[in-house]
């Protein structure tokens, strides 16, 4: 792997732990993006080492800070329990004893201001790096290391081609792309990780591209 100097001297973060604090903040932030930046209420269900040690590592504060949109290096991260209370964000932490897929796993159940529910499961895999493994009950996989385009669509022929053609128009190179679905012809997700930043225009154009495309959002590289 081509480690950058900033993988060695970095990331800039609020302590104490890259996996239990910085990674947790990133997970919260990704979930916020997936919800469409609309979080009125959130339940964090903690598994494994997150469940056992979250208080001492400030994992709770980091998750909450992330879901409020803070970066892992935001100096206000430590005060997120108070600031969430002030802004009226409704939150709770629940500990679950069952065996998780990875020791540091959290399920985030988000309710938006209009009542829209979003459920995101992610793991903190070390060094502040994360992996999102489930969105709304559907198994997915992406890391947030690259700018990521998430497209929720109906599983019909031609939808993928429409999306990738638009990427060509914007001269965006696709680094990784995966498609996940519940079952044939039903709800599906396209996860597209790109080399360069994705312009916001892509989102608005994709939303009006076809009836099959139900939701589109960009997750900027973490």
């Amino acid at each position: 792997m081509d480690y950058s100097v900033f993988d060695i001297i970095g990331p800039r973060m609020v302590g104490p732990s890259s996996s239990h604090t910085a990674g947790a903040a990133r997970l919260g932030k990704v979930a916020r993006r997936i919800s469409g930046n609309d979080v009125a209420k959130v339940t964090f269900i903690l598994y494994g080492s997150f469940a056992k040690t979250y208080k001492g590592h400030g994992t709770d504060r980091a998750l909450l800070a992330g879901i409020m949109g803070m970066e892992p290096n935001d100096p206000d991260l430590a005060g997120s329990l108070d600031s969430a209370g002030r802004t009226g964000l409704d939150f709770e932490f629940v500990v679950n004893d069952s065996d998780p897929p990875h020791p540091n796993t959290v399920k985030m159940v988000i309710t938006g201001s209009s009542g829209k529910k979003t459920e995101v499961v992610g793991c903190s895999i070390g060094g502040g790096n994360i992996r999102v493994i489930q969105i709304n009950g559907l198994a997915v996989e992406f890391t947030g290391e690259y700018p990521t385009l998430v497209v929720r669509h109906i599983d019909r022929p031609g939808v993928i081609a429409e999306v990738t053609s638009l990427m060509v128009e914007f001269n965006i190179n696709i680094a990784f792309m995966r498609v996940f679905r519940h079952s044939k012809g039903q709800d599906a997700f396209m996860i597209i990780e790109t080399d360069g930043d994705i312009p916001k225009k892509v989102v608005s154009q994709l939303r009006t591209l076809s009836e099959e495309i139900q939701d589109v959002y960009i997750i900027e590289a973490l």
Binding site: I9, G15, H57
Partner: protein
């Protein structure tokens, strides 16, 4: 030989062929792999340096307390001691050590730090190089260059071994940090690339086999004190290298040995908080106090 060097000997070959220092070679490599220009890269490193300096300042002057309540205030205590007393190891050594402890205390209190290479070892590099730079009248440009020297060493250890306590024990984390700091100081003070890697090799050799046994699994005890001793290790190793003392075992082989030693450590002694100091009667009592009774 590729710009994207894969070993210490390749790095020394490149430095030698091009008549440049390690920090310059690391910058050339970063431009090559990131496709960004030198200014953008050094500006980002300068930003890291700013956060390192702030953490030192906070830890030495504020009343820091960790989230768990287990740590805080020792850096300030040490500063008061060396400013008002004749010390055993000397004022300069104590100033560097206090700076390193300050960063780790800020980290445990959910303050801002820069992982170098990890959060648990983030005190050694800033503690050792910033205080040394000040004493020798070096400016921020010199320190930024030193950080590139350090990252070359950290990159080689990450690539060819590990810097994760869970994989290699504390020798991998504070060992890497001390090696990075030693090489950075050697180069900043005029040593050759080869002397810099000698300093790095000596630093790792000094703590080969050190286990990772954090009490209650928290990045506090013994981590803060191991950052203290890691800083001492870096400074002494740098002095040895600058004096012309060489490492009998070359840097690349020391790194390989570190990885092998790390792999042979039992799981209890690799960041699981279930062995060593963490599993002493007092260590377990603290665990229960912080997290409640465990199964």
């Amino acid at each position: 030989m590729s710009i994207n060097f894969a070993s210490g000997s390749e790095l020394l070959g490149l430095c030698d062929n091009n008549g440049i220092k390690i920090y310059e070679m690391m910058l050339v490599r970063e431009v090559y792999i990131s496709q960004r220009n030198k200014e953008a890269i050094t500006d980002e490193m300068r930003e890291n340096l700013k956060i390192m300096k702030n953490a030192i300042e906070r830890g030495l002057s504020e009343d820091i307390r960790s989230v768990s309540g287990l740590s805080g205030g020792d850096a300030k205590k040490l500063r008061h001691y060396y400013e008002n007393n004749q010390t055993v190891a000397g004022k300069d050594m104590n100033a560097a050590v206090a700076s390193a402890m300050a960063v780790l205390e800020v980290n445990a209190a959910m303050g801002q730090i820069v992982a170098a290479p990890t959060a648990g070892s983030s005190g050694i590099l800033p503690g050792a190089i910033i205080s040394t730079a000040q004493r020798f009248g070096k400016n921020d440009d010199d320190i930024v260059n030193a950080l590139f020297t350090a990252s070359a060493v950290g990159y080689l250890i990450t690539r060819n071994a590990t810097v994760a306590g869970a994989e290699g024990g504390c020798q991998a984390e504070t060992g890497a940090a001390a090696a990075m700091a030693a090489a950075a100081i050697v180069e900043m003070l005029g040593g050759t690339p080869s002397q810099a890697l000698d300093g790095a090799a000596i630093a790792i050799k000094n703590i080969l086999g050190l286990v990772c046994d954090p009490i209650a699994g928290l990045v506090e005890a013994p981590c803060i004190k191991r950052n203290a001793i890691g800083t001492g290790n870096a400074l002494i190793s740098a002095d040895l290298a600058l004096a012309g003392v060489t490492s009998i075992i070359p840097f690349d082989e020391v790194v390989e040995a570190m990885l092998k030693v790390g792999r042979s450590l039992p799981c209890e002694l690799r960041e699981t908080g279930t062995g060593g100091l963490a599993w002493t009667p007092t260590g377990r009592e603290i665990h229960e106090r912080v997290f409640g009774k465990t199964e």
